[in-house]
Each structure stands twice: as C-alpha cells, then as structure tokens.
Amino acid sequence: MSKRNIAAVIFLVIVAVFFVFSALMMHPFGEPEKTEMDQYIIDNTQGETGADNGVTSVVFDYRGFDTLGEATVLFTAVASVILIFRRLKK
C-alpha cells in the first residue's frame, strides 16, 4: 500500500463519518421548518398567473431567471460537443 492509498482511505473515512452524522441530525422527514414563501405561492398562483400547475408557474414566472441561466448552459454544452467532433471528422 503506497502512501497515496493510505491518505485516500483516511480522507474517505473522515468524509463518511461527517455525512452519516449529519444525516442523522437533520430535521424529521416530513416536517420542514419555514414554509411561508411556498404557502404564499400555493395560495396565489391561480389568481396572479392563471396557471393550474404550481411547478410550471414557479419555473417560468416567479423564478424565470434560473430558467434563462439553464438555457444558456444547455446551449453551451451542445455547441461544445459539436465543436469537438467537427475536428475529428476532418
């Protein structure tokens, strides 16, 4: 066992203890603590947006900027893949 393997095992054990300890210390499953913003969205989504679907009104109307950023990431990834394989074809 080289020195690199021993260091990797110690790192993995420390991270595993940290993750399991914090998974047991989370709030009980099904009782979140602060829900005022989501309760406002559920109560007013039919009046302000006109849509029946709560998730679509959050994705496109209340939080539209995140959708704009995601469209940019998707466009960049597709352009990069086509660029890599254009070089291999020639």
Partner: protein, 115 residues
Amino acid sequence: MIFNIPFIAVAALVLIGLYAVVFKRNLIKIVIGITLIESGVNLFLITLAYRKDSTAPIYTASPGGIMSMPVPHALTLTSIVIGVAVLALMLSLVVYIYRHYKTLDVRKIGGGEEE
C-alpha cells in the same frame, strides 16, 4: 432513527460515488461515479420538499388537502437538465482522449508518473 431513511439513502449514494471517483483507474468508471453523486444531490433536493400527508402542488383534479412545496421541484428540474449536458460533454472528451493516447488508464495519460 428509522424516520430519516431518505437522508441516509442520500448519504450512501454520495459515498459510493465518491469511492468510485477516488479509487478506480478506468476513465469510464470515474464518469459513472460522478453521475451517482449527481443523482444523490437530486434526491436530497426532492426530500426537502415533503410535508406530512401532502399531495402534488397541482390544482387540476386534485384530491384536496395540503400540498407539497413547489420551489425545490423547480430547482431539481434545472439540476437534472444540467447533469445530462455535463455527462454528454464528459463522454465526448473521453472519446477524444482515447483517439489520441490509445488507452483508458488514468495513470498512463498525461506527462507520466511522478517519482
């Protein structure tokens, strides 16, 4: 302790993915480990949005009662699409490396081993 089983499942997924990234030598296995970590994070986001005895936050033909919180559902949608795009880019880079070096071992590509 048995009430927190979804959170323990998230921790198990992330730890198995991290083991695959650190200890394996084949490039394709490292890419699979990264995908496992992304799946663990998506599961964690959905687990945070549940209230007790609630249904989906949609008004069309809903059975009534309280509804789940819709904001983490929207964030998970974005995360899944970004995961697909990053996976496509990683796999095309692996194809490009194989054409150039003729091997997929992660310790033989690059400048060579450090002494």
